[in-house]
């Protein structure tokens, strides 16, 4: 099966100008390829750079070396070299990301937060909102909360809002960073179901799963992220 997202020699280091210009290498020579309908779990010890890789794939961090190729509207796009407008377009149409923490937008109700990425892709408000409500209900977020901004929600509730927002549009490529970290068993099962459904629909999924039980239920294979050797 052909790849949906692929990296070639991807590397990342940080230069901390405020600490005398010290350079911290984090990733080097990462070659990862994920096919449509496949779920790959990133593995490796804590601090190995799994979250950094996720952020690179989303374009949140800039790559220091290598390429990040993604199939976007049938064409190959190198996200590592794409300009800001193209990255935005890829994020709107092709690439979704569920971070560990919801970035709350003041005063915007939960339902609109979830419906927003759908509307950004051209779905009418009248269609986007029921779809958002449906997903929120599936994730056991009671309807009485849908009209409220999630600022005051618990960690688990916020994560479910975040998940609903990430799964709503059905992105061809979806990045999941610890999607079940603060969820109870019932909701973990719901997330497993969502991931399986997304795979069945042809999404390529890359995830960091702390929870090995969830990981084993959804991941087709593991991709080892190795810590960089400490410079002598």
């Amino acid at each position: 099966m052909s790849w949906a997202i692929r990296t070639e020699g991807l590397g990342k280091s940080f230069t901390l100008h405020l600490q005398g210009g010290v350079r911290i290498p984090v990733l080097e020579g990462v070659d990862l390829s994920v096919a449509a309908g496949e779920c790959v779990a990133l593995a490796g010890p804590s601090g190995a750079g799994k979250s950094t890789l996720m952020r690179l794939l989303y374009g949140n961090y800039g790559a220091a070396a290598g390429r990040i190729l993604i199939r976007h509207h049938g064409a190959e796009v190198d996200l590592a070299a794409a300009d800001a407008r193209l990255v935005r377009e890829v994020r709107r149409e092709t690439l979704g990301y569920v971070s560990q923490f919801l970035r709350v937008i003041p005063r915007v109700p939960t339902l609109d937060i979830v419906a927003e990425p759908l509307m950004a892709r051209g779905v009418a408000r009248e269609a986007a909102r029921p779809r958002a409500a449906e997903l929120l209900a599936q994730l056991n977020l009671p309807a009485r909360l849908h009209g409220l901004p999630p600022a005051t929600f618990s960690g688990g509730e916020q994560q479910r809002v975040n998940l609903a927002r990430g799964f709503a549009p059905g992105y061809p490529v979806l990045l999941l960073d610890e999607p079940t970290a603060s969820l109870d068993a019932g909701n973990r099962a719901v997330v497993v179901g969502l991931i399986r459904a997304a795979k069945a629909a042809g999404s390529a999924i890359i995830g960091i799963f702390h929870d090995t039980e969830v990981r084993d239920q959804v991941a087709d294979r593991l991709f080892e992220v190795l810590p960089m050797p400490v410079a002598a």
Binding site: L18, R55, Y61
Partner: protein
């Protein structure tokens, strides 16, 4: 898609101080671009040059009209530039007193741009003004009140309504939340965010508030001493800053 506004090679000095030094940028339809940097970095000067209010010593600013025609902003006649500023462009000042007529009612303030472009039906103008008051969350019953009776946050929202009533495609904003209380800022930012998304506006916003930039802007330009030292996707510039100055700027903000 073509850029609404393109600038290249902009340079301007105030005496020995470089206010703009080789600045280039493009603004596309529907794109929100924030210009951040400390006081004196040249960000307000850049806004004034881009909007034609100030002339650069070198470089060019080009504006594309809705029919696709390209105009060099600083070669446009004053009449043409004024017409542009009350139709396809808007400018939101930091101090609402600079953007409002304080001795004209809220409705008259909103109606002015409509009347300036030829609206001559009182009832329609008034209905449009009431609708815009509602959109910026001011009670339409206050349509005949003078802006002086409004709080700072309301005045700023009134200025925004007055600017957006002619449906501009490009809006310049100079520290729109600058003089306001923190609680009021949040509400205003959220309102701007929603209006910009609803209307598909392109916005060039100058701010020193990193959190505001993160909330509103798709793209960020970091200025220092008249130069753009770093630019790109907002979240990448803020989460993975490359330039020393950007790192300092981000490090000095709590959890932006």
């Amino acid at each position: 898609m073509s850029a609404l506004l393109e600038a290249s090679g902009l340079a301007l000095r105030f005496g020995a101080v470089p206010a703009l030094d080789g600045v280039a940028l493009e603004i596309f339809p529907g794109e929100v671009v924030a210009i951040v940097g400390e006081s004196g970095s040249g960000k307000t000067t850049l806004l004034r040059v881009l909007s034609g209010m100030m002339r650069p010593e070198a470089g060019e600013v080009r504006y594309r009209d809705p029919e696709g025609g390209l105009h060099v902003v600083h070669e446009m006649g004053e009449a043409e530039l004024r017409r542009l500023h009350r139709t396809d462009w808007g400018f939101v000042h930091q101090n609402p007193r600079d953007g409002l007529r304080m001795r004209v009612s809220a409705g008259g303030n909103i109606g002015e741009r409509l009347m300036a472009v030829g609206a001559r039906h009182y009832g329609n103008i008034r209905a449009e003004a009431a609708e815009w008051l509602r959109r910026v969350e001011i009670d339409p019953a206050r349509i005949d009140d003078m802006p002086a009776l409004f709080s700072g946050g309301m005045q700023q929202r009134l200025q925004i309504a007055r600017t957006l009533v002619t449906r501009p495609r490009l809006v310049f904003m100079d520290e729109p939340t600058g003089g306001l209380d923190v609680s009021v800022q949040a509400k205003l930012l959220d309102m701007i965010r929603a209006l910009v998304a609803d209307l598909g506006l392109a916005v060039v916003i100058v701010t020193h508030d990193i959190a505001a930039a993160r909330l509103l802007a798709h793209r960020l330009l970091v200025m220092r001493r008249g130069q753009v030292v770093e630019q790109g996707l907002t979240d990448r510039v803020l989460d993975d800053p490359q330039h020393e100055y950007t790192q300092l700027l981000v490090a000095s903000v709590l959890a932006a």
